[in-house]
Symmetry: C2
Subunit: 178 residues, 2 copies
DNA sequence: ACCTGAACACCGTTCAAGT
DNA sequence: ACCTGAACACCGTTCAAGT
């Protein structure tokens, strides 16, 4: 006799995302996720192939969220500021997606592509279409590195980090402007 | 009756470092390290407090190696090129140290400080001492982001990645030069 | 003084048995 | 058709017992 579903893939991915942010990737265990959605760990395998695949789904959902937010911004400066705001709101997801450790399951390229569209467009307007790709890579590399360093406490030498961010935005925008 | 030592902290850290590079952080288990140095896992605890502490020691040794290499370079361009070479030679260690995931044990700040000296000096020469810190942060953020993206395959849109690197170096150096 | 097997509490994952 | 307990092979870590 069929049993009504007690959970769903969406609920599982949401639970995993919350767990990642609240306690880090190591705490994202099948047991902990199962407990959050109200089943036992083995039941999760009816909906997700493995823990790695679940992590990949979280990464992909994160990129979708990020793409939505960046797509509403127009200038390189506001895109990059929104990028930083996203990193501060969801630091663990940001690191998972933008600076994954060796061995971490990666989001499919299609998700990364969507998230890169806003920056590609903004950079193209400043640098010219023929240099859009190089310019976008310069901006994204800088912003990703900066935010990642900020999130993991690498700015240890004092100084005003917000000022360094503003300095960077200004210089990078000038650097890629034709 | 005393037994002669069958391993050493140095051998353990070296084994851990090699394992990290060969198979990733997840494969850096106490069992695998013990096997490499020729003892059983429990014996490692005579020399290292925990797996987390061992990972931290690997991170700190990596920063020492990096500092040695960067200190021999003089210009921002050559420092940053050497930084990239290091990342390509030891991608897993690079990621562990420069873009650690949430929950990863971090190297003590003193080790990070040593590794940042060369760039701080180089950036100061270009930007002036009063902007050395902001300029160094801009350079390091860009280079770290670029190399990290390169290592984890984030440059998926084609184009010449070496050309994007050269473009970036040139623009960043110009951007921070007073 | 160092090393070890056995043990503990955890993992991820599989699978037969339940409803 | 979904869910579960039990089981398996692994983790990191502790500790009493060996030399």
């Amino acid at each position: 006799m069929p049993t009504p579903d007690r959970t769903s893939l969406d609920a599982i991915v949401t639970a995993a995302r919350d767990l990642l942010e609240a306690e880090g990737l190591a705490a994202l265990t099948m047991n902990a996720v199962a407990q959050r959605v109200g089943v036992r760990a083995p039941s999760l395998y009816k909906r997700v192939e493995s823990r790695d695949r679940l992590i990949q789904l979280v990464a992909e959902a994160t990129l979708t969220d990020l793409a939505d937010r960046l797509s509403e911004e127009r200038s390189v400066a506001t895109i990059v500021n929104e990028f930083r705001a996203f990193g501060r709101e969801r630091p663990a997801a940001f690191q998972l997606v933008l600076t994954p450790a060796s061995g971490t399951p990666l989001a499919d390229d299609s998700f990364r592509f969507v998230a890169s569209e806003a920056i590609l467009r903004g950079a193209g307007e400043l640098a010219g279409e023929e240099h859009a790709l190089e310019a976008a890579r310069t901006v994204v590399a800088w912003a990703t590195g900066f935010i990642s360093m900020e999130l993991n406490g690498s700015f240890q030498l004092g100084g005003d980090v917000d000022a360094a961010w503003s300095y960077g935005v200004e210089r990078i925008v000038a650097a890629i402007t034709r």
